[in-house]
């Protein structure tokens, strides 16, 4: 092989992670029957698009960096579906490199499926690699590991060592989070500087559902998940299409989601009547290019919002709104809302003042014990955090004691 050839070499691949195929959406208590199927199949549809994109772009390979499935809810159906999707890629000569993450750790799978020969799964927690060969020529070395158990808490970066320097491209995959990131479970924590020092052309990360470029040189990238599943996973979700040669890497984001999550925050402090509220809600609608799940936070300093809420008016109007828009081809649905009420400055005297004091002083845990001591409840329900409970209780009491 001549040096010139090496320069001309180019690889194309797709980088995706956190597919969570078949995992249910969070925070939806009810859904109209017409939307149920589309919702339930949304992760499948996103996966379909991933496969379609790979074929359309004629990429060399696809990287899936962990959490292909959701452990608690992994169904055979989902695995077969994924297998069939990969089998389709085989027909186009596209390789797939898969690592399992904290949500689909190897030992958790009760019924592993065998994939077609184009699929390469990183077998265990030690960092290993596969060589991607194109036209009998080793072109890229892909490194990675899979979670064997529910968690990997050690830093894996030191284990990544570049092999066989004659191969032009070296790509590392890692499912974990930046050390010191408090928002997420500290899985396979890594330090950015350490990572940057390693001689890899691309760090394909997974685990964090928000699309993030941690670094540009070399690219260290979280592609995010491919389909939002709750109100915090808003906006477009998808994968990266990467074209790489010795001098340059170009990254193009390709949205894959089949349903979009949108969060609306509306200040309705000025709303004084039901009619005004109706107008506010009506203005919420904007035509969309694909189905959309909306969550609304009604922000207000006016306690009229509590009355609207308590009297079921908000719910009724949302129902009407939904009826109006959820039958469109690109339907929209408000599945939940939140009241964000900040009282204007007030001077509480006597009893109300005492009430506020009491809210601060009582033991929430003891108060809620009658329900939480029930094992069944604990098993199925996540406890509301105390701060929120107190805030909501304050709102409730405010509503009752401000009624004239």
């Amino acid at each position: 092989m001549k040096f010139g050839d090496t320069l001309k070499r180019q690889i194309t691949f797709i980088h995706a992670a956190d597919l969570h195929i078949d995992a249910p959406f969070k925070g939806m208590a009810t859904l109209p029957a017409s939307l149920f199927e589309a919702t339930q199949k949304s992760t499948y549809r996103a996966f379909d698009r991933l496969i379609e994109t790979a074929i359309e772009k004629q990429v060399d390979f696809v990287l899936i960096v962990g959490d292909l499935f959701d452990q608690d809810n992994r169904s055979l159906h989902a695995q077969i579906y994924v297998r069939d999707g990969f089998a389709q890629l085989e027909q186009y000569g596209i390789e797939v490199f898969v690592s399992y993450g904290n949500h689909d750790y190897v030992k958790g799978n009760k019924y592993p499926i065998s994939f077609t020969s184009n699929v390469h799964v990183f077998p265990g927690e030690d960092v290993t690699s596969f060589t991607y060969v194109k036209e009998n020529e080793p072109l890229a070395e892909i490194y990675g590991f899979s979670y064997e158990n529910r968690a990997v808490t050690e830093n894996k970066v030191p284990q990544y060592e570049r092999k066989d320097t004659s191969i032009p491209f070296h790509i590392a995959t890692l499912h974990g989070s930046l050390s010191g990131n408090d928002e997420h479970d500290p899985y396979a924590p890594f330090l950015l500087e350490e990572m940057k020092e390693k001689p890899f052309d691309y760090w394909a990360l997974g685990h964090i559902h928000t699309r993030t470029h941690i670094s540009d040189n070399p690219p260290i990238v979280y592609p995010g998940n491919i389909q939002g599943r709750h109100r915090k996973e808003t906006g477009e979700k998808g994968c990266y299409y990467c074209v790489m040669d010795k001098n340059d890497v170009s990254l193009t984001f390709i949205p894959l989601q089949s349903i979009l999550f949108v969060e609306h925050i509306i200040d309705i402090s000025d709303v004084q009547s039901v009619g005004q509220f109706e107008v506010v809600l009506e203005n919420l609608y904007q035509s969309a290019v694909q189905p959309q799940f909306n969550h609304v936070t009604f922000h207000s300093t006016n306690d009229y919002v509590l009355q609207l809420d308590r009297e079921g008016i908000i719910e009724d109007f949302i129902m009407l709104w939904n009826e109006q828009y959820q039958l469109l081809p690109n339907w929209q649905h408000i599945y939940d809302y939140k009241i964000d009420f900040h009282e204007a400055k007030s001077q509480d005297q006597f009893f109300i003042a005492e009430l506020r004091e009491s809210l601060k002083s009582i033991s929430i845990q003891d108060t809620l014990l009658p329900l939480w001591k029930e094992q069944n409840i604990r098993r199925h329900v996540e406890k509301m955090d105390e701060e929120t409970v107190v805030k909501e209780a304050e709102k409730l009491l405010h509503y009752y004691f401000s009624q004239t």
């Binding site: 939806m28 004091e357 809210l359 108060t367 409840i377």
Partner: protein, 969 residues
Amino acid sequence: MRFVKADIYGFGKWVDQTFDFSSAQFNAFYGENESGKSTLQQFFLFVMFGLPPKRRQQFESKYSSRFGGALTVEQNGALYTIERTKNGVRILTEDGEAPATFLEELLYGLTRETYESIYAFTALQLSEIQQMKVQDLNDVLFSVGLTGSTSIYKVEKTLEQRLGSLYKARGWKAEINEQLKKVETLAEEVRQLQHRESTYIEKRANVEELKETLQQLEMEQHQIETTLHLKEKHLYACKQKEAYLLLEKERAAYGEIKPFPEEGIARLERLKDRLLPLESERNVLKQQLQQYEKAYEEANATLLSTDYHALLQQFMKQKMTYIDLEKDIAHLTVQLKQIEEGLREKLSEVSLTVEEIEDIILPFHLDQTVQQIKEQASTLQQEEAMLQDEKRTNQTEINRLEKEIKDINDQVIDETFLEERKTANKRYENEQMFYTQHASRQRDIEAFTEKKRTQSNQIMYGAIVVAIICAFIGWNNDMPIFMLFAGILVIIGVGQKLYLQRLWDAVPIDTQHATNKMTEQQYIENEQIIQQQQTIHQELFLLKNELKKVLHADLLLDNKWEAWKTKQTQLQDKIATETFQYPFLQQLEVYVWDTYIRYIREVKEMLQTRSELQNELYTMEHTFAPLEKMRTQLGEHLGVPHVTVQQLEEMYEHEQRSIAKKEQAEREMQERQKALMDIEEKIATYRAEMKELFAIAQVENENEFYTIARENEKIVSLDREMKKYLSPLQLQFSEVELKELFASTESEETLEELVEQLRQEKMQNQTKMNDTHERYVAVQYEVEQLEASGILSEKIYLLEMEKTKLTKWTNEWSVYKVAQAALDEAKKRYQEKYFHAVIDKTSTFFEHITQGKYVTVFAPTEKLPFQVETEDQRRYRVDELSKGTIDQLYVALRLAMNVVMQEKISVPLIIDDAFVHFDTVRSSQMVQLLREISVTQQVILFTCKDYFAKQVQATHILTNVKMKEDVHA
């Protein structure tokens, strides 16, 4: 906070009024009822808290266009002026203006309700304490600082209800419980589905295993089938093999095949077959020839001689003519006889001879003429009868009318007498009219007189009454002039009456009628006679007219008679003309002419027919005679003198048949002779051919020829038989196998056993294979089902949704529970903080007011109202106390609440006449108490009691001046 100054622009009765509170902490207002104390109190509250527009209206001043006012207050050493007018509220500080929201801060967030419940009380509220229970006291305490009617208990109840409907520790009828149940059910379903999916790997392995077993079994089966097939073949070939071997042995006994003509036997047989019919035919022909010769002779013997045969033949030719003629002649003879008879009859009827009739010529128009004459005669006859009838009727009518006229004429009376009567009646009528007019005028005069009489009576009585009055006055008052006046009045009254009376009596009233010259009876009689005569004259006139009409009709009838007579003459002429032309009609009535003529015509037709028939008969008899002669001749020859045509026919037929038979026999004989010659020739040819065949087989006769043929045939048959057994074997077996087959010594029984055994093995193996295959398919299906089933993922989705719902409920429960707990806690703390303090303070104040008579106050409980304890430790319920004491207790309680609360928020205490039932001693105690309070809190007191005002040294005296002005206005 304390009030410094109140400027009233206009509020109720207050206009442009200023009150200054800056000088004293204790401000007492004295004023009688209606002096504006309450309005002033309302003014303070209005400025601080405002009023809704409706309530505000009642305070809008009648005397000023300005409404509202300002209240200057001091807080933390700073002065603020709260100004409230129609335009709203403004807060003025020493530096300028503060925003309206600052008011809330200024008032410590108090509401009007709170203020009123703590810092202001009136005499009206005094009775409340009697009914007060702990709940109410708490209510008062808790309501401090709460908006409007909000009740803590209501909130507690709402929370309790919602919590109860959300979750119950036992039972299912709550949202969380039900939802939990739903979630658990779903979770269980998911678990089961997951378990089912976990068998997937096992099933996959099972599929593979079964697949292998199946392949193994298939191979074994194949081997068994191959062996079985071979052995079965041997078994089937066993019999054929043995048969073949037997035949082989038999064949060995014969040598080679001898010379023999090609298909020798067949050829010989064929020749023999051909000879046999030929010979038998020859015999038949000879017999037939003899038979036909005999038949010929017989037929010839029965035939007639030639002459008579010809005569018979000729007659038979004309046979049909003969029969027809014979029949027609008989028929015609009968017809003629009938006509003759008819003719005789007719002729007797018309009483004319044949010759006369033949002379009569009847033209075709005669019938028409005769018909016309007949019709005319009939018409004329009818007319005659009708005319005679009319003539008779007319005459009768004329007679009747003339008689009636005569009768009426007799009733007519003399004309002059009638005139007299009429004149008399006219006169009578005129008189009657005059009397009627006179009577009417008389009635009017009487009415007028009566009216006047009444008037004069009234005047007279009026004068008498006035006179009496005057007389009385005059008598009483000793005034003679009245007496005199009375007298004059009587005189005038009576005088006018008398005068008028006389005047009316003098008027004569002529009611007498003029004497009548004629009575009414007579008048009516005359009228009747006049009318009668008029009727008679009318009748007479009518009858005369009628008679005139009938006479005229009679004249017209006579004219018609004349016309009829003319027509009659014309008809007679016509009849004469016809009788002249046809004299035979002379003797006959016109009406039968047409019938008679028809008869004559019929006779003429019959005569014609008779002559035609006679001619025809003659012609027929002429043709018939020669035929009859021929028949007679034939009859004589045959010996039958009156031979019939039928007999001749039979004879003829018999003759014909004999001739045919003779000719037939002749033809047959010739044919047979010719055929006999042909057959003899053929027989000779076949004999020669047979000789040739024998020569080839080198034999002399037929027997030897057949022996050689039989031997040859046997050899061929054996060879064929052997081949028949061998060739199917050759097809079934290869050459090697065939050799093996012939070499093998396995008997049929042994083979049969072996085959049966193999078949069993095959069957068992097949069953095994089927079972395995079935299991394979079933497991494979399950695997496919598991792979395809989306139920689990759907259920997981549903579970997640139901969990979310459950979470929603539990969250709500948590919020409500915390709210409830906080409320409980707040209540507890609030009570601890204020309730006991208030009760303690109440005891202190009550003791002070009652000068130590009562020392302790006990708070009411759930069941008991307030209780008080005396020095000597006797307890009384509040309802056992006197009215005055109850008031004192209430005042003590309200003051206690005020004092406790003002430690936190200090605003002026406003009291409105709360001490009305207090005696002087207790009043002074009260004043002392208020003075003590006013050290820390501004007190504003309103009273209408002057002694109390004096005690408190009221600083503001309110008068009723303006009120009074108002009343006068």
